[in-house]
Amino acid sequence: MGILDFLKRKPEPTATVARERLRIIVAQERSTRGAPDYLPMMRNELLEVIKKYVHVDIEAININLERDSGHEILELSVTLPDGKSAGKAGSEAKTG
């Protein structure tokens, strides 16, 4: 039993899981902090439009609002899936 325990791969410590989850959520919430309330809704609508052409997940869309002196930059980035599936989704959209 002792030897088997030794050989078994240890599960990831829960503190590590907590740290990674927090890193992601904190970064996401910071990027939209102080942003207008319509941003999440806009993000969802943009996702619907993009989905017509490419099959992407909501997590693939990243909206970032940056403030410079005097003006704001709304940055939208979409991570497209691998070439193969993207092409397929693209062709489906064309025929549809």
Binding site: P13, T14, A15, T16, A18, R19, R21, L22, R23, I25, V26, E29, R30, R33, G34
Partner: protein, 271 residues
């Protein structure tokens, strides 16, 4: 001379704001400063219990705001420290009783009375009471537990502190932010069951001003109505003393963040 205003806040409830406010205020008084500690939790007064003055509350914060009592009548003098005073929250009035002008009036009054520090014990949440507690602050102590929801809420509060204070609105520079990690259990950190000091610092992007170990003495202290910092034998009390010294500008290394090494006798006889 204006009083330095310190808000003790966290977003999440139950992380140790009132425990911290009581010990911080007492520690500053022990360092010779004239200190007032104010409970901003209208409707849920508790600082009086932790400070051990619950039976001496005659007038409260709202009474002063409404002009029903003077500051002098409402400030409760601490039993142990001559230069420490408590201003209790109101138990019965509605939350709208507290206004920005009212808070400003009380804080100005304390400055005029020669107070060096005013510690504002914020209610949980990000509603009006929490907003008013932080609005006039020069320094903030953000109390955080090594736990996911507390860390996330702290980040939210740090964001509010950077924008929703008088200093920020007037462009007088951001208020000083101090992160205080409480309920820390080095043994659980060592085996990967709890976020470490470094984890929390990295996620929030701010260094801790102190780490308070999880300690039975905190409950004992609140049972007795004596701030834990008064208990110089307790690790939590010593950690709070270090924290107060750091806030006053002294440099002290962090203590009680590693698992205590067992002594020779303990190793031989166990325990």
């Amino acid at each position: 001379m204006t009083a330095e205003i310190i808000v003790v806040t966290s977003g999440k409830g139950g992380v140790g704001k009132t425990t911290t406010s009581a010990s911080l205020a007492t520690g500053l008084a022990m360092a010779g400063k004239k200190v007032a500690v104010i409970d901003f939790d209208v409707g849920l007064r508790n600082l009086d219990l932790i400070m051990g003055c619950e039976r001496r509350v005659v007038y409260d914060f709202i009474n002063v705001v409404h002009g029903e009592a003077t500051l002098k009548q409402s400030l409760i003098k601490d039993k142990r420290h001559d230069n420490l005073y408590v201003l209790a929250a109101s138990q019965t009035r509605d939350k709208d009783a507290l206004t920005q002008e009212g808070v400003e009036k009380v804080l100005d009054g304390l400055s005029e009375d020669g107070f060096d520090y005013v510690v504002c014990d914020s209610p949980a949440g990000i509603e009006k009471g929490a907003h008013l507690a932080m609005y006039f602050a020069d320094h903030a102590v953000v109390v955080v537990n090594p736990e996911v929801s507390s860390v996330r809420d702290s980040d939210r509060i740090l964001g509010l502190l950077a924008s929703k204070t008088r200093r920020a609105e007037r462009g007088e520079g951001a208020i000083t932010q101090h992160l205080l990690l409480t309920r820390y259990n080095p043994a659980r950190v060592a085996i990967g069951e709890m976020l470490s000091v470094k984890d929390v610092e990295e996620i929030l992007g701010i260094n801790v001003v102190g780490v308070i170990p999880e300690s039975e003495n905190v409950l004992t202290a609140s049972n007795n109505g004596i701030p834990v910092i008064v208990d110089a034998n307790s690790l939590a009390g010593q950690a709070y003393s270090d924290t107060v010294a750091r806030i006053l500008g002294e440099e002290r290394p962090l203590r009680f963040i590693d698992v205590p090494k067992k002594g020779f006798l303990q190793r031989v006889f166990g325990g």
